[in-house]
Symmetry: C2
Amino acid sequence: MIVKSQIKLIRSLHQKKYRNENGLFFVEGLKAVQELLDSRFEVVKVYATEDGGLSASAGEVELISEAELKKISALRTPNKVLGLFKIPKVEKIDFDDWVVTVDDVRDPGNLGTIIRLCDWFGIRHLVCSGQTVDCYNPKTLQATMGSIARVNVGYTDLALFLQKADRPIYGAFMDGVPVYGEKLAEPGILVMGNEANGISSPIEHLVTHKISIPQFGEPTAESLNVATATAILLSEIRRG
Amino acid sequence: MIVKSQIKLIRSLHQKKYRNENGLFFVEGLKAVQELLDSRFEVVKVYATEDGGLSASAGEVELISEAELKKISALRTPNKVLGLFKIPKVEKIDFDDWVVTVDDVRDPGNLGTIIRLCDWFGIRHLVCSGQTVDCYNPKTLQATMGSIARVNVGYTDLALFLQKADRPIYGAFMDGVPVYGEKLAEPGILVMGNEANGISSPIEHLVTHKISIPQFGEPTAESLNVATATAILLSEIRRG
């Protein structure tokens, strides 16, 4: 059973404003919920339609009906488990390794994919400009596939952050130097831009190394999507 | 003005069955429609809410109202132009360069992104297993961003196709050898697998080189999405 006030609260968390006001967010699906339970994230409650092998404390799990889950879920086809968690404090950034930053990425699927890529490539810190889509947006979380548990995502004034950072700053531009010839051995900061407009001009001025992914097809080809470009650049950073 | 029978026809083309029966598909948005007009694709009719700079023959373009466009569009927010085209014949495959194949990719966004990646990296031929999502699905086309104009996409019995191909066959597996150490100079065939299950076992038997993208994060990280993995492998193939 889930009480009405709780249904109202969780439904409000579909919106960023109420996530921030309450300091809470939710994630759906057994795998993602379990990964957050096993992480630094603090659980408030797990709602499940069946006791399907979650390893959580007894008091944390509440069995609910499918109809109840449907009321609180953000999915068309709710996925058995919904976990309610506290939004964690952003950890201090450690510049010993590469840091990824995004300048106004607006599509939740793209941001989620970038978080999942950071996880795969062992990037601990992702810094987002204030206009970037919320990482606790249900669609973003769906695309992270649980990777939010292992990537420290923060929002800040990106220009200020980059000004203070005493590191080489690499930005992806159509007219940058081909990344394949770049030495990426020293930890730096990678900046990825907005889907439609790329990196904004205040941020462009702070970039110390403009790089690009060479194109091999006809010059009419649409530029790469920000998530696939991030995949290639993180692979370049790690391949050595 | 658009007549009722035409509205009915275009609406039916939202479904694969009717696309195949009629040999027709539609694409939306000025850029994508223009790219198909400039390609080997044969146009039937372009419906536009305004004469917004399309370069097409006068007889090809029909001005319609926004309400009419809404009736035929697959988008929540229709995008001014919808072009009706004939499904082209699949071109004969030229093995002088790399060929990409997909084994049951089901998500239209993923297939569209893979087509866009082939375009960027100059891969001319994409061969799909019979169970792969249709490349003329409106959602797939939306994700290709017009790249369908330059990539030859065909559907076939993938096992049979690979059996006949006298080329090295590279497949992406979690336990393959790290791709960063592979020499990919000779044109081969790249196989990418299904989102949930990877490459199916009949296809796995035909793969001559199992490769993988090394993981650098914690071993719990979710495997890479098929589109981002394709991005990295095509970049590896082209970077030399």
